[in-house]
């Protein structure tokens, strides 16, 4: 263990040294880049808006754009939408250069935002969306984990599709799993929330835009409050509380999936014996001798500790101090 910690601290120190080396090296470079970019100006808007764009971006485009006209973004009657304003250029930025005539062999300038070769920074591109969408349930976005990971809104949202997959319970996890591959594996374990079955979406528990700026980007201000949304019977308060359960469900449970029943993080009775050491049966070593083929032991087999202590989330029975009633 000491070796591991030493290794980590050495790693950390190395990273610190590399950090400051790169920082020092890049200072001058960054200033130069700033000087270069500060003088650049945006092109002009096209005079005819979407009519200009649709001359090329029609039904036969490699990446169809027309389904956007089946989405809320295209409703001109809603004054907040892009199509009530500059149409395509409301989001993509002024397309004057992009739509202008080019000489044979000349590369067509990209649209300022949301294109394969767009020059706009991530903040600038997200800023286009935030102009309308920063309100209401997204006000904690700045500084949130997805924001600081340089996520583009379009990394998850497909605004040109008639039905954005990330907004549908069945198709949403596929979008999230593109990055969260480990969670995809966890949802296939023996005990898991019904995500694989299309009955739960990631956003049932997670508020990915950080409305409540909690660890884990949760829908409610704390982990337990998030769990109680569906498991309100475990909320209490109970007469006899089980302190770790009251404080943090993840003390014993793995939220995305576990090879152990009830999403437990470890097999029983070891999970319980990590904390319980009272004289007699809580601290007894239950060896393989207690398996069904040997001397079957009730503290080991079937539901182990919960063969008797079934009220592990708390009991409201006057005689329930041992969580057995």
């Amino acid at each position: 263990m000491q070796i591991n910690r030493s290794l980590f601290r050495t790693g950390l120190m190395t990273m610190v040294i590399i950090t400051f080396g790169i920082v020092a090296h890049s200072l001058a470079q960054a200033e130069d880049e700033m000087k270069k970019t500060s003088g650049s100006a945006l092109p002009s808007f096209t005079p005819k808006g979407a009519d200009t764009c649709l001359k090329c971006h029609d039904e036969d485009s490699e990446y169809p754009v027309l389904p956007i006209f089946k989405t809320p973004h295209a409703r001109k009657g809603d004054a907040r939408t892009p199509f009530a304003d500059r149409q395509c250029e409301s989001c993509h930025g002024p397309g004057g250069d992009h739509a202008a005539r080019i000489r044979p062999g000349q590369e067509r300038p990209p649209m300022p935002a949301f294109g394969k070769h767009s020059q706009a920074s991530i903040n600038e591109q997200n800023g286009q969306c935030q102009t309308c969408h920063e309100t209401h349930r997204r006000i904690g976005w700045e500084g949130s984990p997805h924001e600081t990971s340089d996520m583009l809104c379009s990394s998850c949202h497909s605004v040109h599709k008639s039905h954005d997959p990330v907004l549908n319970t069945v198709t949403q996890p596929e979008v999230c799993f593109d990055c969260h591959t480990q969670v995809r594996g966890q949802t296939m374990q023996l005990s898991a929330h019904p995500i694989r079955q299309g009955q739960m979406a990631c956003t049932d528990c997670h508020e990915v835009h950080s409305n409540f700026p909690t660890d884990g980007l949760l829908q409610r201000p704390t982990l337990n409050e998030t769990c109680y949304s569906c498991h309100a019977e475990k909320r209490g308060p109970f007469l006899w509380e089980h302190a770790p359960a009251t404080e943090d469900c993840s003390t014993c449970h793995q939220p995305h999936g576990s090879m152990h029943s009830s999403l437990l993080s470890q097999t029983k009775p070891l999970l319980c014996q990590n904390c319980h050491s009272q004289m007699d049966h809580p601290s007894t070593a239950y060896t393989s001798e207690g398996l069904a083929g040997g001397k079957p032991n009730a503290f080991l087999l079937m539901n182990s500790c919960t063969n008797c202590h079934s009220q592990v989330h708390g009991s409201n029975h006057p005689s329930g101090v041992k969580l057995m009633r």
Binding site: S26, A30, M34, T181, T222, A285, P296
Partner: protein
């Protein structure tokens, strides 16, 4: 509250939130963007109706309730396939949407919404989820919340000696049906204001397995589940150019139709009158919470966001009797708990960019659970058998404060470096350690040498120390004084994460990730000693054209834990070790428009888990057999389009699950003399599903 300084932090939060809230009021203006009057001759009509209906039959080859868990499939045989989607848009902003899924299954979904976009929206949603816990379970008990044994039952001191047991068994299905109805509304009276409300009712009915015991003579009982949770959530948001505010209310009311579960003792009573027992079922409870969230961002260079939520949990269900043993009469100190917990959660996050490449972020998190439930002395009757000691209830209270500071430096176009420090302080009342302080330092480097690759490395190290451990007199019999519960114990935690993404032509993307976490508990003579987790993930996606998507993924996880304990109630004399290894692989391809007529979706995934457990006492005991589970899933769907609006779809689906679990292996109804269980077996199934349906689009 635990300590007065908690109040100070809270006051700081409030002051920050409210003072910053009023600063920009003076700056409010009406600089609405001017609407543009661009015409669009080539734009398709945004009004119209899209409809899709799918109707067909499915056939399941085997009766395996565990396969049907959450999917909604019931038994072997035919099932209806029914899906529908309707999207109607008027020429301006009106819309009505309907989505219906799986109407022939026990897990179905319906959503209807409509309104005027930008003005209001109403929606109704219904969904049900069917959960099945065990394949086949049996019990001799009859009834629901009053469980009785069949006439002629002869009790005995052990399951093996119960003469009527085998003949008295009946099938019982452990599982529940969850139905949720949601009514939602959204109203946008102006560009600045937005209000929404969601009212949900969640009804859960069925049976769960609960244990009831008389000392060490236990029974697994089919306990009734008849829960209703009503939730209401409403928020009102106001936006200005540089700031946004939102007030919200959340209420959750839980009701249980059954207050107690009484069961007849199948064993020979251990004392006079102990011929029945009673369990308390989850009590009705409520939670109400008000929240205020606010963000202020006057310039891209600095900004602030904050949130404050104050809530109250209450529970005042009338107590059941201390015992149902008529020979042990005990008076209650109160008729109901009058339980009350106040919660307060807050957060302030501020960022400042002194110059374009550098962002400094500071954050403060506050979480308080103040349990004001009255304390009383409770005469215990041990499992309805004998009168025990008097115990005093401990309403647990805790408080958490986290201070975080980080710097994020975009060194150049290729390198981004971040570093941060955190202090997490937790104070608890009624637990063995009153305060823990955890300090964390982390460093993150992100390298993006070009559009073809991205590398991210994050290292973090933290150290947690607690106030002196104290033996709690309230725990009886006492814990071994050497025990350190792992959520309270001194701990070193090191973590490393590496992610590499490679982007190729044809929208090909490769992703690799390694995550390592190592927990070491420094001063725990007894208790968890260490926990390690190593994750590897790899994925590749390939999207050469809009109509073609393929992906493949692999994940591997290894979780290790080591614990010490003492059966002699002194120093550690045995060690328990566990190691779980899980591998998951999968691949899928979606190809549409093959030969202009066919769509094809093929998916295969496989998960394999192995868990090793060792309990080392010095005696020559062999290791436990491995816990294993293996899941194979193959799904394919072929769609043939007769016409653009008419298609025939054939689906084939195969699932195989095999598990081995030594806690259930060979455990018959009479294996455990003191546990009358439900005879649940390890979940295993092999199922084929065939589906044929037609789809019509308008």
């Amino acid at each position: 509250m635990i300590k007065p300084d908690s109040h100070h932090s809270l006051i700081t939060v409030c002051v920050l939130v409210f003072t910053t809230a009023f600063i920009p009021l003076a700056q409010a203006n009406d600089d609405d963007a001017e609407s543009n009057d661009l015409k669009c001759r080539f734009c398709p009509e945004t009004g119209g109706t899209e409809e899709r209906y799918e109707l067909g039959l499915g056939y399941i080859t085997d009766d395996d309730p565990e396969f049907g868990d959450a999917w909604g499939y019931d038994d072997k045989g035919y099932s209806l396939i029914g899906n529908a989607e309707l999207y109607h848009r008027t020429g301006d902003v009106g819309f009505i949407n309907l989505e219906l899924r799986d109407i022939g299954l026990d897990s179905s979904y319906l959503n209807i919404e409509g309104g005027q976009q930008g003005h209001y929206r109403l929606n109704f949603e219904y969904n049900e989820i069917s959960r099945r816990s065990f394949d086949s379970t049996v019990t001799p008990f009859r009834g629901s919340s009053q469980l009785s044994l069949p006439a002629g039952w002869v009790d005995a001191d052990s399951t093996g000696n119960m003469p009527q047991l085998v003949n008295s068994l009946r099938d019982v299905e452990i599982g529940h049906q969850r139905e949720r109805i949601t009514l939602g509304a959204e109203w946008i009276p102006s560009k600045r204001w937005q209000w929404d409300v969601q009212i949900r009712q969640d009804r859960k009915t069925g049976l769960s397995a609960m244990a009831g015991s008389f000392i060490t003579q236990a029974s697994s009982l089919p306990a009734p589940v008849d829960f209703v949770t009503d939730e209401i959530e409403s928020t009102l948001g106001y936006s200005e150019k540089h700031w946004h505010a939102q007030v919200g209310y959340y209420g959750s009311l839980f009701r249980n139709a059954d207050k107690a579960l009484t069961w007849e003792n199948p064993y020979t009573p251990l004392s006079a009158g102990a011929d029945q027992g009673q369990l308390s079922l989850p009590p009705d409870n409520q939670f109400h919470q008000l929240s205020l969230a606010y963000s202020y961002r006057p310039s891209p260079s600095y900004g602030l966001s904050s949130m404050l939520a104050a809530g109250r949990m209450t529970q005042d269900e009338k107590f059941v009797a201390t015992t149902v043993n008529p020979n042990l009469s005990v008076a209650l100190p109160r008729n109901s708990l009058d339980g009350e917990v106040d919660t307060l959660t807050g957060n302030v996050r501020a960022f400042y960019n002194p110059w374009r490449e550098l962002r400094l972020t500071s954050e403060f998190l506050y979480n308080d659970r103040d349990n004001n439930t009255p304390r009383d002395n409770w005469q215990q009757v041990v499992t309805d058998v004998f009168t025990g000691s008097i115990r005093r209830n401990i309403p647990y209270t805790f408080n958490q404060q986290s201070y975080r500071f980080s710097a994020d430096w975009k060194a150049n176009l290729k390198n981004r470096l971040s570093a941060g420090v955190e202090r997490d302080i937790r104070k608890r009342r009624g637990q063995a350690v009153e305060r823990t302080d955890e300090d964390t330092g982390w460093l993150k480097w992100r390298l993006k040498p070009g559009n073809f690759a991205e590398l991210q490395v994050k290292l973090s190290s933290s150290s947690r120390d607690g106030s002196p451990f104290q033996n709690l007199s309230s725990i009886a019999p006492p814990e071994n004084p050497r025990m350190r519960q792992f959520h309270l114990a001194d701990r070193d935690r090191d973590q490393a994460n590496v992610h590499l993404n490679l982007f190729g032509s044809n929208d090909m993307q490769l992703g690799f990730g390694i995550a390592y976490a190592n927990d070491s508990y420094r001063n725990s003579p007894i208790g968890l000693q260490s926990g390690k987790q190593l994750d590897f993930s790899g994925s590749a996606t390939f999207r050469p054209k809009e109509h073609w998507y393929s992906n493949v993924f692999l994940t591997q996880t290894r979780i290790e834990a080591s614990t010490l304990n003492s059966q002699s109630f002194s120093s550690a004399d045995w060690r328990g070790e566990s190691e779980d290894r899980i591998t998951t692989i999968g691949s899928s391809t979606i190809r549409t428009g093959i030969l202009g007529k066919f769509d094809l979706e093929v998916e295969y995934s496989h998960s394999r888990a192995t868990g090793d457990v060792s309990v080392i006492t010095g005696a020559p005991n062999p290791d436990f057999p491995a816990l294993t589970s293996e899941l194979h899933v193959f799904r394919s769907t072929t769609t043939y389009h007769f016409r653009p609006d008419l298609a025939l779809r054939f689906g084939y689906w195969f699932e195989l699950l095999r598990t081995r679990d030594w806690s259930l292996d060979d455990v018959t109804l009479t294996t455990l003399p003191g546990v009358l269980h439900l005879d649940q077996s390890e979940p295993s199934y092999k199922v084929h599903v065939f589906m044929l349906s037609t789809e019509y689009r308008f």
